[in-house]
Chain length 494, copies 2
């Protein structure tokens, strides 16, 4: 290996390892950290972030990159991503990077308080400042890349290579069929039987661990803990998930567990040879979400798996309602227009995302002023969901993303659903006995297919390339919409 | 503040924060890390260690140090320690630092296997290599400091300013009274009543938390977890301890908890203004051990506290033997000649340390060859303890220290006992009602005294200075020996 390539890869390996440490600190903070340690932890994270920041724009990277000769396709992919990270880091002025980090940290605190107080006005100044900083960052990235579109420059952090215009076109194609389906379902909506029974915390956690194992999560290289918000953290040999428990609603715990297992499996199943390199992680938020959503929805909320789960839950929790497996499946998949994105069914979820995408793109591009955002949100929500927002925490203040600068992130949720639709179609084609497996609670063939086709590649292929090579077809919204129409058409006798 | 001073202190603050992160990683590894994550964790720790290593000898430190003007006594103390660390780091050749780190890591693995296999010969080559490397490091430090003694150069890492000759003289003064007392006790030794009862793990952990709170451990800035070996980890606002549970021997859990609470309180109670600086931690291993030992022994194993603890244990565990509080106190303080240092009573403990000190000093100075070490250990143990070592894990292979290069560490255990003796004498003088407090399970006045006199200073004063200013008297072994003679004289009716 050439000296430059060797030096570059050693630097990358160390940066990757330090990035893993950052993940451990965040996991610790959300799960086991003593309550009085928050201020000190912020200093610790700040110190590590400063080290990472300096490494990302270490001028030696430029020298090595100009001299390094890749010896394989994987090397070339690794060099490409290192070069891309380096260019983006170098393009951002140091004082702007500091200001962004500080605004994200304070903004999240201000948002949390504003949400608790139901006080939109208290949040808007911080949001204005954040948007101004993100625009400045976008301008710097555009200038460095010779591009024009601020929003595109921000999306690059979450779904490299995708543009706002492409997302808009995708969402425009999806919306009519999605809305028609949702309207048809709500037009028929007989109330689904509610879940009723005793779902004690300890039993829920035991069952969540069972579900995690059923979906292939390797607890020898991971663990499940309680946290306020479910998340997955880490890559390679140490990938941990969290869940939460509501004793009156065990689906909250179970489906968030399956969802996080999708994310965690992606990180656990990246080829070991890519471990602690720039390629040793999920390639984009969209592809990540495709894994969590296909685990959660196309597999976990399928009729076959619900049949198994109904029986398995009876063993853990004793008798509960609904007693009938078919009704249980309907309960799991009940469609309701609700305020909250993270609690939405498979139909409304994408409408939540589209609302946020349109608003945030307008905010960044200057077509919408922050002062008008709350009205715009409420008007759009009423139009899309047929319900008036009753309080800010059910509207503009519900999501953390914008408070910490995550503009361009929301659309990757629906993109993940679209990717999941494509993967699910191919999976069904390749595994004709899938429903027989799922009805036994066996996801082995399906998760092995995803591991082989998607997860093992890590970031060594571009996002869309991963999906298209996995399915053998171009990415399209059609499989997702076909699946939703078939599933909910049958469930609601359309 | 001058530019150089500001830059130096900012660098120090960041280094201190990164040092804390290293502590979190080790805590995580010993408590919650998934079993399959060990190899990756080693890489993560290696990457952070490389960052810390580079920072410790960052050439800018030399420039800043030569320009920085301290603005206070605290600044001056901070500069002194930063300069000392920098000089030691710069004196060590880079390849030697790497070789030492590698030898420590592999040596510990070889030691663990050799101990499990009871195979001294399997450990000796690694030990030889480690000793050669430590000698080389000692020579480098001696050359840089213009000193001669290799062992002194190593002690500097654990008890700055103390020499092997001073330790030897101290131990020579202690030994006759200690041995005479031990012999007198063993000559009288009526067997103490054994502890008998039901001590379930969950109850032990609940009681350990009660003890920790009674000794002033702030669980809002700490936590207690299970681990194979009890330890304390972290400084400032995040200081965690671990314990272990043996259901037939609850004292193992309880006294290791009190011991670790002593260490943890020291770290928690350093003045907040010193937090995340080079001064924001315990000043030496000896002073650290003085806190853990005075909490554990002079307070926790006192007759007054044992009286309270006997009653409190009855509330938690129901009836147990001994039923009589005075007998319980005798049981807690039973004297027995045993193989294992960490299980030794207050008398034998120091004999264990003296044995190791003499052997390791000879090893480093060249008077003892590794090939002869096991025979030397066994001969010395038989002479000092009147018992033949029955297996290597009860002898040379019992402690991890030498395998990872901790030469010069052992004597700080007895030094800590000596410091604890001095502090205890002053504490009794200043708090005449101490026994009344302890008999109510109230350590508040005692721990506040230690917090104020010792702990809050962190590393802002030299080790001996801390103790001498706290007590108003020169450090001496006499108070410890007086205390031991009075306590065990009464217990064994000498």
């Amino acid at each position: 290996m050439s000296g430059a390539l060797e030096a570059l890869f050693a630097h990358d390996a160390q940066t990757s390892a330090l990035g893993q440490i950052m993940g451990r600190l965040h996991w610790d903070q959300e799960t086991v950290m003593p309550p009085g340690s928050a201020a000190q932890r912020a200093e610790e994270i700040g110190a590590l972030e400063a080290v990472l920041h300096a490494r990302r724009q270490d001028p030696r990277l430029g020298d090595w990159l100009s001299e390094a000769d890749p010896e394989s396709e994987t090397d070339a992919a690794r060099l490409d991503l290192i070069a891309r990270d380096y260019q983006r880091a170098r393009a951002l002025p140091a004082d702007l990077a500091v200001a962004l980090a500080r605004a994200a940290s304070t903004g999240q605190g201000i948002w949390a308080k504003a949400r608790a107080d139901e006080d939109v006005a208290a949040f808007l100044p911080a949001l204005s400042e954040m948007i101004a900083l993100k625009r400045e960052a976008a301008d710097a990235w555009c200038a460095a890349a010779g591009t024009q579109d601020r929003y595109d420059a921000l999306v690059e952090d979450y779904e490299p290579g995708l543009t706002g215009a492409e997302i808009a076109a995708l969402f425009d194609r999806m919306r009519p069929r999605l809305v028609a389906l949702r309207d048809a379902v709500l037009g028929k909506a007989a109330a689904k039987a509610p879940l009723q029974g005793q779902f004690a915390q300890a039993d829920q956690l035991r069952f969540a661990a069972l579900l995690a194992e059923r979906f292939g999560y390797d607890l020898g290289r991971g663990r499940i803990d309680l946290a306020v918000h479910p998340f997955s953290s880490g890559s390679g040999a140490d990938v941990r998930i969290t869940t939460r428990v509501d004793e009156s609603d065990p689906f909250n715990c179970f489906y968030s567990t399956i969802h996080e297992v999708g994310h965690a499996s992606y990180e656990q199943n990246v080829a070991a040879a890519l471990g602690l390199t720039r390629l040793g992680q999920g390639v984009s938020m969209g592809v990540h979400e495709s894994q969590s959503r296909i685990y959660e929805n196309q597999l976990g909320r399928s009729e076959a798996f619900c049949t198994w789960m109904h029986g398995a839950m009876s063993e853990t929790f004793g008798a509960f309602q609904p007693e009938d497996a078919a009704q249980f499946y309907a309960t799991v998949n009940a469609v309701r227009a609700g305020y909250i994105r993270t609690e939405a069914d498979e139909l409304h979820y994408n409408l939540h995302v589209m609302l946020r995408f349109d608003l945030e793109r307008d905010l960044i591009q200057g077509g919408l002023d922050v002062a008008d955002l709350n009205d715009a949100w409420n008007a759009r929500f009423a139009a899309d969901f047929g319900v008036a927002v009753d309080r800010p925490s059910h509207g503009l203040l519900q999501d953390v993303h914008w408070s910490c600068g995550l503009f361009g992130y929301f659309p990757t949720y629906t993109l993940g659903n679209v990717y999941a639709g494509c993967l699910h179609e191919a999976l069904r084609r390749d595994l004709p006995a899938l429903d027989e497996d799922l009805a036994r609670g066996d996801t082995g063939a399906a998760t092995a297919w995803l591991g082989e086709r998607v997860q093992r590649h890590g970031a060594s292929k571009a996002p869309r390339q991963v999906i298209e090579e996995a399915t053998g077809a171009p990415v399209s919204e059609a499989p997702l919409l076909d699946y939703l129409e078939a599933k909910f058409g049958a469930l609601y006798s359309l």
